[in-house]
Each structure stands twice: as structure tokens, then as C-alpha cells.
């Protein structure tokens, strides 16, 4: 305890040096904490934003084998699916039934490719709350009304009321042509611009050559992101017991998206009628988790590189400290201090530096996260996918933070160990004779 007190006093004696060394440690901790905080919220934010776009966390799609062996996306009758969802205990805040078409939109000689979600606006009331409209309205939407993103409206040069010609394909791949009336324009959704158009399912179905009560994807929007995989597994089990269903997880190539792996497997299968695919948002966003893994690795590598540099500084500084205090060490040794205590003195100083630096680094990182989190990037920001309601958000896993602080403490102690050992090995008589 006395050694620890002495170490603390020594640090206080050399405030400038302590602040500089502690500052270097704090800087490293701050950078790593910011990366960890960003990575922690990244998956949640991307999942949240995608769940809004796809209107769900758990999805069921129907795939029908055509007489010529082609896979056609269609759900003709969902009674058994609804029973399966009930039996699986899926408690969804919203259930959506959507169709989708990919079309080439033309207006006054200009062309844009766009994916249109066919939605039931009367049932998907939450959509109106989530779409940030730049102009127009979702009320009294005409049957052929369409909601398009701002960049597409700009590209085509259209305003509310203009009519767009669309060439597309039916669900079975036949060529079709239709017309949409621009009813509303939503603010730039960034990279999702080409998939963020909405129109009434009735008219989308007509262009897809589907009956009004048919559709392509059934989505369940759960109260939270947690438990979606378990919900997907339960729903898959119930669907499998009632209908034909694909395996929940197809054996995919290393790093391949689970849904793509599943679809690749379907190409090789044969069946008659409709077979169902149950997926979750986590399956769709498997690559996002890979990004987080990369960020985690990067954070650890940055921590190690920064601290290797800082360790060199700490080792040199402690060596200097040892020479500065050589007579003091000699005196302490002469009055009875043991070698271990001298070594402990140096190591305590290093530990206090590490802990002080880590606490300061965490405090500064928290302030930066708080400050950045207050900035409103807007819902039309190109970064919107990684934002939460237009704000950058961070989430720290405190166990990971504690682990990183432990690594910092260990590296700092390792850096100070050799000077500490040298100090401990000093002969008191020689130390006392040494002129500094």
C-alpha cells in the first residue's frame, strides 16, 4: 500500500510528464473506444433501417416451379402460412404482404431503373410515418399512384402528377408496359434510392400479372431486433410441418450470403407447386456482421499498433526516470526497501498511468460520442443507413471495454517492466555514488 502511495506521489511530482504519457494512452483508448462504439451500433442501426425498408424482420416467400422448370416468386394462398405463424407464436407489430417489380421508368426521353414495392397502404399505416416526404402526399393515392425517391424524380425531371411509362416483366418474366402517376416524392434515401419506390399492390400485381389477392413476400415486423432468428426458426418449423419448405440454412460457400446460398440450392431442386423460403433480416444482412467483425479486428489491430508505439515511449521514459531517481533508489534501498518493492514502485506508476489514461480516454470518447450524436445529419443523408433517426449513434459493450482496458494495462506494465527490473537490480552503494 505504501509502495502504491509512493508511486502515486511520484506521478504527481512529475505532472507534465505524467500528463503527456497518460495523454498518449488516453488517445489510444479514445480511438479504439470510438471504433468499438460505432461498430456496436452499426448492426443495430443498419438492421433497424433495413427492417423499415423491408417492412419486417422475418420473411416468407413462395417459390413455384413452372412447368418448364423456372422458379416463379408467388404466394397464392396464405391461410396455412398464417396458421403456421400463429402456431409459432410470432407476435408481430405489423404483418405486410408485398409484391415487387423491377422496371425501367421513362419520362420525356429520360430513363431510370427502379424497384417498386407493391404495398397495401391501407394496411401498412406505419409506412406513412416512416417515409420522409419531400413533396406530394400518401393520402388519396390513385390506384396507379407511385411514390419515388428524390434522386429518381430529379433524374427523370418529374413533378407530382406527371405520368411515367414503365416497362417491366410479369412474375413469370413476360414483357409488360404500364403507367404510373407520381403521387409523392420521398427525400433521398441514399444508396437505397433504387429500391425505395412504393405503389399500390393492386396495380403492381396487375403489371406482374398476379391476381389481386396474390403477392410475393409475407413479412413480420417484430417488436425488437432481438430473437428474430429464433422466431424465424420456429416459423420455419411450423411452415415445414404444413407445407413444402426449403431448408432454413443452406450450406453455403465461405462468406456467401445465406439467402443467396439458399437460392442457389433451389436452382438444383425440383418440386411441384409452391415451396416456401423462411428468412430473417439477419440472414439478409450477414455481410453487415462481417463488416462489424472487420471493424472489431481493426479496432484490436489499431490498439496494438498504437500501444506498441506508446510502449516504446513508456519504456524510454521509465528508463530516464530510473536514471533521474538513481540516488533516491539507492537511498531507499539503503534504508531497507527491498528489490521487489522498487520494482513494484515502478510498476504501480505504470499501472496508475494506464488506468488514468484509460479513464481519461473513455471520458473523452464519451464526450465525442455525445457531441457527434447530437448532430442531425437528416433523414436524407447518404449515411442514413448507419444512422438512427438521422443521428450517429454508438453502443459500447462494457465487457469489451473492460477487456481493452486490461490489454492497455498489461501492455503499459510490460513496457515499464524492464526499466523497473533494472531499477530493482541496482546496487544501493553504486546507486548512492552515482552523480546525476
Amino acid at each position: 500500500m505504501q509502495t502504491a502511495m509512493l508511486a502515486f506521489r511520484n506521478l504527481s511530482r512529475q505532472k507534465r510528464r505524467s500528463v503527456l504519457l497518460g495523454g498518449a494512452i488516453a488517445f489510444g483508448v479514445m480511438i479504439v473506444t470510438l471504433i468499438d462504439g460505432f461498430a456496436g451500433a452499426f448492426v443495430d442501426n443498419v438492421s433497424e433501417n433495413f427492417s423499415n425498408l423491408l417492412a419486417g424482420h422475418v420473411f416468407v416467400e413462395g417459390v413455384e416451379k413452372s412447368p418448364k422448370g423456372r422458379d416463379l416468386e408467388i404466394i397464392r394462398d396464405d391461410l396455412a402460412l398464417r396458421e403456421a405463424a400463429e402456431a409459432a407464436g410470432i407476435e408481430a407489430m405489423y404483418v405486410s404482404r408485398r409484391s415487387g417489380l423491377q422496371g425501367s421508368f421513362k419520362f420525356a426521353g429520360r430513363t431510370a431503373t427502379l424497384r417498386v414495392q407493391g404495398v397495401d397502404f391501407a394496411a401498412e399505416t406505419f409506412l406513412a410515418e416512416r417515409l420522409a416526404l419531400a413533396s406530394g402526399s400518401l393520402e388519396n393515392l390513385p390506384r396507379d399512384g407511385i411514390v419515388i425517391p428524390e434522386p429518381i424524380a430529379d433524374k427523370l425531371g418529374v413533378v407530382i402528377g406527371d405520368r411515367l411509362l414503365v416497362t417491366t416483366r410479369t412474375y413469370s418474366g413476360q414483357q409488360n408496359v404500364g403507367e404510373f402517376a407520381v403521387a409523392a416524392v420521398i427525400k433521398d434515401p441514399g444508396i437505397l434510392g433504387s429500391v425505395s419506390a412504393y405503389a399500390g399492390r393492386d396495380y403492381v400485381n396487375e403489371l406482374l400479372d398476379l391476381a389481386p389477392d396474390e403477392y410475393q413476400a409475407l413479412s413480420f415486423y417484430l417488436p425488437s431486433l432481438k430473437g428474430m432468428d429464433e422466431a424465424g426458426d420456429r416459423l420455419h418449423a411450423e411452415v415445414s410441418s404444413r407445407l413444402q419448405a426449403f431448408e432454413r440454412k443452406a450450406p453455403g460457400a465461405e462468406g456467401e450470403n445465406p439467402i443467396l446460398a439458399m437460392m442457389r440450392g433451389e436452382d438444383e431442386e425440383t418440386w411441384t407447386g409452391v415451396k416456401y423460403r423462411v428468412t430473417t433480416l439477419n440472414d439478409a444482412l450477414a455481410q453487415v456482421q462481417q463488416i462489424v467483425d472487420v471493424l472489431d479486428t481493426a479496432s484490436l489491430v489499431i490498439l496494438l499498433v498504437l500501444f506498441l508505439i506508446i510502449m516504446v515511449g513508456i519504456t524510454n521514459t521509465f528508463r530516464i526516470i530510473m536514471y533521474e531517481r538513481i540516488r533516491e533508489i539507492g537511498t531507499m534501498r539503503a534504508v531497507g526497501m527491498q528489490r521487489g518493492q522498487v520494482r513494484g514502485l515502478f510498476l504501480y506508476e505504470a499501472l496508475f498511468l494506464a488506468l488514468g489514461g484509460a479513464v481519461a480516454g473513455l471520458a473523452v470518447a464519451s464526450l465525442v460520442m455525445l457531441g457527434v450524436g447530437l448532430i442531425d445529419f437528416g433523414l436524407d443523408s447518404p449515411l442514413f443507413l448507419i444512422l438512427r433517426n438521422g443521428h450517429m449513434s454508438f453502443r459500447l459493450d462494457w465487457a469489451r471495454v473492460a477487456g481493452k482496458v486490461a490489454i492497455v494495462a498489461f501492455l503499459t506494465l510490460a513496457a515499464a517492466f524492464f526499466p523497473a527490473r533494472s531499477a530493482a537490480k541496482l546496487d544501493p552503494a553504486v546507486a548512492l555514488r552515482t552523480a546525476v
Binding site: 412447368p67 421513362k106 416497362t167 416483366r169 418474366g173 413476360q174 414483357q175 400479372d209
Partner: protein, 246 residues
């Protein structure tokens, strides 16, 4: 009464005979593009025009084995697409990109490198198998007397739900084809000017003009050259052929 009955029966039998003739006519048209047990090879040069853009030229070497409904399309031009190709095995069409060395699933309905032509325009097709005759009438197209046949697809697995064919009366040769969307709108017009290449005892159009009726001013002209009919090595219709073809 008896005379009236005979007249009706006669009219019905003539009408039925007419319908059977048109079906046979479709089969004859199909047979002109079907090389059966012999393999067909040709180079298609596709020049596409779009308003405000320079014409683009794509050259494709086509290898077909009609008896097994197989094909390989190998892109020769432009340079950036050289070596790319399509392979049809069974009911699956695969697109090969030599840059990645990967095959990706495609369909016969894909357009050929952003031109107005589709893969189905370069492969064997069968009006008789895919379409029913809904209506027929007579007309004139340029100097030619033609039958105008309104076709409706038997199922939804062909690109066009409705097709209108203008067939020469003197020979079963199509002069013009109009393709309609499911909603009934004319989407493209395909003209077959009466200039033919003889190959394997059949006459095939040496030029095809495809006009996009939705995007005004967009059109593609297909010109055939290096046409050959004869057995090709079996490994022509394999992935390895496309991989080593570049």
C-alpha cells in the same frame, strides 16, 4: 333448311381447314429455323442506335444444337465484352464472364448487351409450340400479299404474350413480327427484309431490324455472316468451351 345446314357445315369445314393450314404454316416457319440434328453456327453483328448516342456494335458467334435445344453465344465485340457468353444447358441459361471466371444464372429473355435483340432472337424458337392462333386475316406488306396471324402464348413462359406475324402468302416466310406486352401495348417490331441466306437446305433471313416501340428512336439491326451448318464437337456446348474460347 337442308341447304342452309350444308352451307353452314361447309363454311365450318373451310374455316377449320383454314385454321389447320395456319397451324401447319407455323410449323413450316419453325422448321426453317430448326436445324434439327445438324448444328448451326453463325456470326450476328448487332448495331444498336439510341437517340443522342453513337451507334454501338456487338458481335456474337452463335453455336446451336437444335435437336437438344442447346446454344452457346460467344461475344467477339466490343473488346470490353470479348469472351463473355451465354450457355444453355437443359432449361438453364448461364452467363459467363471471363473477368470473374464465374457463371451466373440468366434467362433467354435477357437482352443481348443492351441492344433491342434478346437471347431468344438468336436461338431456336417455335411459334407452333409456344403460341395458339387467335385470329387470322389477309393484308399487304409492301409488295407482298401476307397472312396476318394474331398469336397468343400458350403459357406465361415466353417473352411476349401476344405476337402478330406477317407471313408471305407465296412462301412460309415471316416478313414482320409485332410483339405486344401483357397489357396489350406494342413493344417492338421485328422486320425480316426479304434477303435470305441458304444454309442446310433452308432459307434464313440475312438481316433483322428490331425497332423499340416504347423508346422512340431506339433500334437494332442484326446481320448474319459466316453461316455454317454441320456437326460441331460435343464439347462446344459445355462450360469449358466458353472458358477457353477467349
Amino acid at each position: 333448311m337442308k341447304r342452309a345446314m350444308i352451307s353452314v357445315l361447309l363454311a365450318l369445314s373451310v374455316a377449320m381447314a383454314g385454321a389447320q393450314d395456319f397451324k401447319a404454316m407455323l410449323r413450316e416457319i419453325d422448321s426453317l429455323g430448326d436445324f434439327g440434328g445438324q448444328d448451326f453456327t453463325a456470326t450476328y453483328t448487332i448495331v444498336s442506335e439510341k437517340p443522342g448516342q453513337k451507334p454501338e456494335t456487338v458481335q456474337v458467334r452463335v453455336y446451336r444444337r437444335d435437336e437438344r435445344d442447346q446454344f452457346v453465344f460467344l461475344f467477339l465485340k466490343p473488346e470490353r465484352q470479348k469472351g463473355q457468353g451465354y450457355l444453355k444447358v437443359d432449361d438453364n441459361v448461364w452467363f459467363y464472364d471471363p473477368e470473374s471466371g464465374e457463371f451466373a444464372k440468366s434467362t433467354i429473355k435477357e437482352s443481348v448487351q443492351d441492344s433491342e435483340a434478346r437471347n431468344s432472337d438468336l436461338s431456336r424458337m417455335s411459334y407452333a409450340d409456344d403460341y395458339d392462333i387467335e385470329k387470322s386475316s389477309e393484308g399487304k406488306l409492301g409488295a407482298y400479299d401476307v397472312w396476318i396471324l394474331e398469336l397468343v402464348s400458350k403459357d406465361s413462359e415466353v417473352s411476349w404474350q401476344r405476337v402478330r406475324l406477317y407471313v408471305r402468302k407465296d412462301k412460309p416466310l415471316v416478313l414482320k413480327e409485332e410483339d405486344f406486352s401483357v397489357s396489350g401495348r406494342l413493344m417492338r417490331t421485328v422486320s425480316f427484309p426479304p434477303s435470305y441466306i441458304s444454309a442446310g437446305g433452308k432459307q434464313i433471313p440475312s438481316r433483322i431490324l428490331i425497332v423499340d416501340e416504347i423508346n422512340t428512336g431506339e433500334k437494332s439491326q442484326l446481320t448474319l455472316s459466316d453461316v455454317a451448318v454441320g456437326r460441331l464437337p460435343d464439347d462446344t456446348f459445355t462450360e469449358s468451351f466458353l472458358k477457353r474460347a477467349r
